[in-house]
Symmetry: C2
Subunit: 384 residues, 2 copies
Amino acid sequence: MRDVAVIGVGMQKWGELWEKSARDIFVESALLAMDDAGVERIDSMYVGSMSPGIFSAQEHLESVLADYLGAKHIPATRVESACASGGLAFRLAFMDVASGMSDVVLAGGIEKMTDVSGGEATHALATAADMMWEGYSGVTFPGLYAMMAVAHMDRYGTKREQLAEVAVKNHANGFLNERAQFRMKITVDDVLNSVKVADPLNILDCSPITDGAAAVVLMPLEMAKKLKRSGAKVIGSGHATDTIALHGREDMTALKAVSEAAKRAYAMAGKRPQDIQLAEVHDCFTIAEIVVSESLGFFEAGQGGPAVERGETARGGRIPINASGGLKSKGHPVGATGIAQIVELVEQLRGAAGPRQVKNARVGLAQNMGGSGGSCLVHILEVM
Amino acid sequence: MRDVAVIGVGMQKWGELWEKSARDIFVESALLAMDDAGVERIDSMYVGSMSPGIFSAQEHLESVLADYLGAKHIPATRVESACASGGLAFRLAFMDVASGMSDVVLAGGIEKMTDVSGGEATHALATAADMMWEGYSGVTFPGLYAMMAVAHMDRYGTKREQLAEVAVKNHANGFLNERAQFRMKITVDDVLNSVKVADPLNILDCSPITDGAAAVVLMPLEMAKKLKRSGAKVIGSGHATDTIALHGREDMTALKAVSEAAKRAYAMAGKRPQDIQLAEVHDCFTIAEIVVSESLGFFEAGQGGPAVERGETARGGRIPINASGGLKSKGHPVGATGIAQIVELVEQLRGAAGPRQVKNARVGLAQNMGGSGGSCLVHILEVM
């Protein structure tokens, strides 16, 4: 297997992009990534998108997108793993280059979520849960994560305010990110006083509905060095699944797909949790970031809440988490999220993250998961 | 890259399986394939499914299926390329083993199409076309293929009866396949007198709506030989896209994604069209088989119609096409079709196809395409 580098990233402002189609949004980001990489053609393409069939009445997306990108006849693949679709597209692009099958590969993610009603969007997102047992009983995602929050608070004494601190930190970071959907600073009181969604989670504990895309370009590390491209080296890739339904798990206060995927990525990279200097993690709800930070091994079980309260995950802390603003502030176009995490890591490892720059970051981790943790992708990148 | 073998296949009878869920159908085929392969566990899994979100209100399918298969925590990937989803799952499983990332990999396909109304199924299938330009203008798939048929008849003099001969041949083959949805012999008159769908195509020119799954198990060829497993060697894999919309193509009487994917597969395999001794091709409509047989290089442009009329593609002909019964008789659960083609090739190359057996077959080709040819996968298998 060959060493692989990410040498181009592309992403535009996320939000409610009613004036643009899914294909337009994707192509804009893909062309930005190709420009950044200094390549005029790609050998193959992987696109993560969760539910274009329900959101946009358009499946067969990889054919549409390769066509509109002008990359006619390339092998193109759409993958879906609910909210982890982007991370999965990145992993397959990595495999494609590492195996020697392709040289220049684009990995992208896209979701256009605001062309349907809120009820339809909630339905589409619920199809990431076990519809037969969870969905048809009436539980949607805020409810699933609320159950995890209650269990975590009960077992470890995690405080309501600690959940709020995740949102406060991520909005403070996202305030500095010009591509974020919600660039506003918030306080713990704002979170606690915002409208209730599923007890104990309020609206400011939840990531939003977003239109957006992101794209990156990968090539063999040797080729990138020869062509004098800047970027980051992919040193670890881990992928795991778990029971689709929460009730099938032994423990609702930890995420086994996350710890398994992380174990595989750490092993491939030859790194331990304490070697990671910044992380982009899947904060679809505030409780998710806390549980994930424990399942990744950054903190002992039950210590994720106190850690965020002490500022350990802030930009200047011991292990900065979601310097980009995370899903919470940046937005969460589900299929694009996993790729946007890679965009942030590459910019940080290049030292090009501007006001969001994490000092001396040499190794970064991206963690992207589907549903309530039924699937997870973990990638580790290092400066080239 | 390592040599790869398919050493297990699984498929049950296809049809209207109202008493079973998508997950049940998939797991049955997956367990059959694992039993046939003599393996008790798999390292990873790829599943092709076109639109479980619309057909079954269930995305995040790879997590559901890995869970219900009891393969907890494995990396599992769902891919979608409309009706080519199964072929794409097979290609990624092949890459996974060839690259050395995994040893024992399951590739499966599933579509549960009869739990929604006929109108909803037609909508779901239409999302494989360019919804923005084709779908919203009211054209669905019989209409798209009817336009190709009219163009082919106009340019090459292809006769209406020659289209019918494709259906007659495939039903004669499917009559011998106990897993086929429609096991009935038909005549040219039956086809010509069946109800009109989109001129010149009648209902007996169209593949049906089907519930079904199929699965195969791959491992490195060396390992398969050491373990004395029987099966077939994968010697070529080609993948290509084309414009999603018919109106974007220079020529409506040929399929460029098919010829490009075939060129790549032939090059990898070191084979020419005349080296292929049997083929499973994507006869979603009778005209599709004729055009595909030309784009694969089996016949000159315009000679596909006369060839089927002369019996060259019958089981005892020069190049037997769709000995399984094809999509036409066997059924077309869209995500499963590409895998079912591999199932047929492996059974034929093992000499285990019973009454459908093609004599002395040593090299077989499978061609699976999405929509009106916006994507195509071609695989070439050889006896081990």
